[in-house]
């Protein structure tokens, strides 16, 4: 099933790109379509963050992951590069689990 998801995602993402290069722009270039396409990543990424950090199966828990996210938030406020943000979050969560 993971392979199916990988292939569907790969093929689908390619076709979405090709469609943009091939379809006459007036078909998709409507303000409401552009707004929704603009907001989709925002809503989905925010939902992913929330689920990734707070969900454990069907329950919501507060654990080391939330500490990691907090550290990432501070690192972003300080304009740290991407790799620093990710590493700082991982290290913080690992340290909390060690304690």
């Amino acid at each position: 099933m993971i392979w199916a998801a990988v292939l569907v995602t790969g093929l689908g993402c390619y076709l979405l790109k090709l469609a943009g290069l091939s379809v006459p722009s007036r078909v998709l270039e409507r303000p409401v379509v552009e707004r929704i396409a603009d907001l989709l990543p925002v809503a989905l990424l925010a939902a992913l963050i929330a689920v990734q950090v707070l969900a454990d199966g069907p329950s919501l828990v507060l654990d080391a992951r939330l500490v990691g996210l907090g550290v990432a938030f501070v690192a972003l406020l300080l304009r740290a590069p991407f790799i620093v943000v990710v590493l700082a979050a991982a290290v913080a969560a690992a340290l909390v689990r060690l304690l």
């Binding site: 993971i2 990988v6 943009g20 998709l28 270039e29 303000p31 409401v32 989709l40 809503a43 990734q52």
Partner: protein, 258 residues
């Protein structure tokens, strides 16, 4: 100015070098993301081959992170794929913008399509002529493609060698990576509200729906917010959350976050 349809050597060598150098710089900047993606991919339960196949075939950061993110949270693979495809729709809008600019048809268009991402779009739409736009698109697209895939392999192999990903906090790294991807968009008030509502809706659904559904459901927030509001910035003009470029020419990338 060069001819709008010309493919000839209408750019002087210094200009060509400068455009190619910019593309390479953007490609190098994506290495960090690629390594993170590889490590997170294997931590989420994909094997090295699946992780690398995703980078080769999907080749669009946010969608790839979304698929492995849903899998890491225990979601069904196909709901992860659906989330990834929703995130991939932005590249369609980039393609609309790029089509007249690049002016390719047939096999050139079919191959160029795989390179339509935030970075190649950003490094192409700002150019002064078609040859410059094509060179910016190709140099950035190819540089990012090569380095993103190499970095994915390195990250996946290294990630697997580490053993239990939780001991290294790699599960926390997933949330941090998403936050970094989203960060440049949070300057905008409507985006902040959309993000908060999307997160709240997803969390409220976690106890009552199968894994994977809460994230997909957040798309409804974008649909409603997009339908009810007016005058968004054109998404094809603003590099998106997966924009890794932080190039000199624009300031929407991660490095220029609020």
């Amino acid at each position: 100015m060069s001819s709008p349809t010309g493919e000839g050597p209408t750019l002087d060598p210094a200009r060509r070098r400068s455009i190619v150098r910019d593309g390479l710089a953007v490609g190098l900047a994506t290495g960090a993301y690629g390594i993170s993606f590889g490590a997170i991919g294997v931590a989420a339960g994909l094997d090295v081959w699946q992780t690398c196949a995703l980078s080769l075939l999907a080749f669009t950061g946010a969608s790839q992170f979304a698929l492995v993110g849903v899998l890491a949270a225990g979601g069904a693979p196909l709901s992860g794929a659906a989330t990834a495809l929703l995130l991939g729709t932005r590249n369609t809008l980039y393609g609309l913008r790029l089509a007249p600019l690049l002016g390719w048809r047939g096999w050139r268009r079919a191959s160029a399509a795989q390179l339509v991402i935030d970075e190649s779009t950003a490094m192409s739409v700002m150019r002064e002529s078609q040859p410059a736009a094509r060179l910016g698109f190709l140099s950035t697209g190819v540089a990012v493609f090569v380095l993103w895939n190499l970095a994915t392999l390195v990250g996946a192999v290294a990630g697997r060698a580490l053993g239990d990903p939780r001991a290294y906090g790699l599960d926390a790294a997933v949330g941090a990576a998403f936050l970094a991807l989203l960060w440049p968009r949070l300057r905008d008030r409507r985006n902040r509200i959309t993000a908060l509502l999307g997160a709240a809706l997803a969390l409220s659904l976690v106890p009552v729906t199968p894994a994977g559904v809460p994230v997909l459901a957040a798309a409804a927030v974008a649909l409603v917010a997009g339908a009810l509001t007016r005058d968004a910035a054109d998404p094809t003009e603003v590099p998106g959350p997966e924009d890794l470029a932080t190039g000199r020419e624009h300031h929407h990338g991660h490095g220029g976050s609020p």
